[in-house]
């Protein structure tokens, strides 16, 4: 069973390529994401948390597509997200 499925995900900030055709499948349970600074961990999490739209590629979480506004709202009802800098 797959809870998160990412296909050919790309995200650029200006000229800086944060995610380059990333493919990823996650099963239920706890998953850790390790990588050096600038590897694209936060960018990936933002795309999964629906706070950042990818340039190209697809994301599906819990079977829902964040690119569709209705499915994005449905997904937001089910996910919990605490960003690195919550801004409190």
């Amino acid at each position: 069973m797959t809870t998160v499925s990412v296909r050919a995900l790309c995200k650029k900030y200006g000229r800086s390529l944060a995610l380059d055709h990333l493919d990823l499948d996650l099963a239920p349970g706890v998953t850790g994401l390790l990588g050096p600074h600038g590897a694209g961990k936060s960018t990936l999490l933002r795309c999964l948390a629906t706070t950042l739209a990818p340039d190209t590629g697809t994301v599906r979480a819990l079977g829902l597509d964040p690119a569709d506004s209705r499915q994005r709202t449905a997904l937001r009802r089910r996910l919990g997200y605490l960003p690195q800098n919550p801004g409190f």
Binding site: R46, A49, T50, T51, L52, A53, P66, A67, S69, R72, T73, R76, R77, L79, Y81, L82, P83, N85, P86, G87, F88
Partner: protein
């Protein structure tokens, strides 16, 4: 901590049964605080304890509601919406203070003898721009420190932007209306419909560009329009003229409709 003695079984049974005298209860509890061994001999209802701790943690950890949030809730606004409203950056004390200061300056300008011929200009210029500035500071990554947290909630996007825009608009218009006794003019202020039209225009334009860019562009355009009209003594045509009022009224309705039809563009998932 260890003590040199322990409670007798009868004392523990009486304590649990509630038949000990108050002075003995105090003595037993003083001992239990220091003696782990005796504490383990107390019968415990684990489910009751877990429920109690959860209840206590919920109360202790629950954020305290501030005065503005309580006022908004008393006005009949649901609790979750009240919290989202008071978290609007543009409704902070600093913003409200800035609005009051700007309005005081605008009222002062209308009463200056040297600006007598332009007495309507300051409020016509300032009052419609105040809600625009508020909307610019109400929603977005650059203006809301908690935006990334907010944008991942189901309320994010069009719904939250519209709720906050209405809150800012109502606040700014109410504060501007408070200046009416100090400014000579018609009973219904000429700036009200331009304020509504510019707010609608800001929201409609935000379906194409960012809220901040939309508000700044419209505020600049309005300032240039009012200042230009004042230079050629057409200031009354800009806001107070019946045709101008009819135009702003129609524009408010049309732009609100455009915003509604394109509301899904207000949330692209991009923080």
């Amino acid at each position: 901590m260890k003590t040199g003695w322990h409670l007798a079984n009868q004392q523990i049974a009486a304590y649990v049964g509630g038949s000990l005298a108050p002075s003995d209860v105090m003595s037993v509890e003083a001992h239990l605080e220091r003696c782990g061994e005796c504490r383990t001999r107390l019968p415990a209802d684990e489910q009751w304890l877990a429920t109690s701790w959860t209840g206590i943690a919920d109360v202790v950890m629950r954020p305290r509601r501030g005065v503005p949030e309580r006022i908004v809730e008393r006005m009949g606004v649901p609790g979750h919406l009240a919290r989202l409203l008071v978290a609007t950056p543009a409704l902070s004390r600093a913003w409200l203070s800035a609005v009051v200061v700007v309005l005081v300056f605008a009222v002062g300008a209308t009463r200056m003898p040297m600006l007598d011929a332009y007495s309507a200009v300051p409020m016509t210029l300032v009052a419609p721009v105040l809600p625009l500035a508020g909307i610019a500071l109400a929603y977005g990554r650059r203006v809301d420190p908690a935006h990334e947290l907010v944008v991942a909630t189901p309320y994010a996007g069009a719904r939250l932007l519209l709720v906050r825009a209405i809150a800012v608009l109502v606040t700014a218009v109410a504060l501007a209306a408070c200046t009416m006794p100090f400014v000579a003019g018609p009973p219904l202020p000429a700036w009200l419909l331009p304020a509504l039209a510019l707010t609608s225009a800001c929201l409609a334009l935000s379906t194409r560009v960012s809220v901040l860019r939309s508000a700044v562009s419209l505020a600049a355009a309005w300032t240039a329009l009012v200042a230009g009209a004042a230079l050629v003594h057409w200031q009354d045509l800009i806001a107070a003229h019946p045709l101008a009022q009819a135009f702003y009224g129609s524009a408010t309705f049309a732009l609100a409709l455009v915003t509604y039809l394109r509301r899904h563009r207000l949330d692209t998932g991009e923080s």
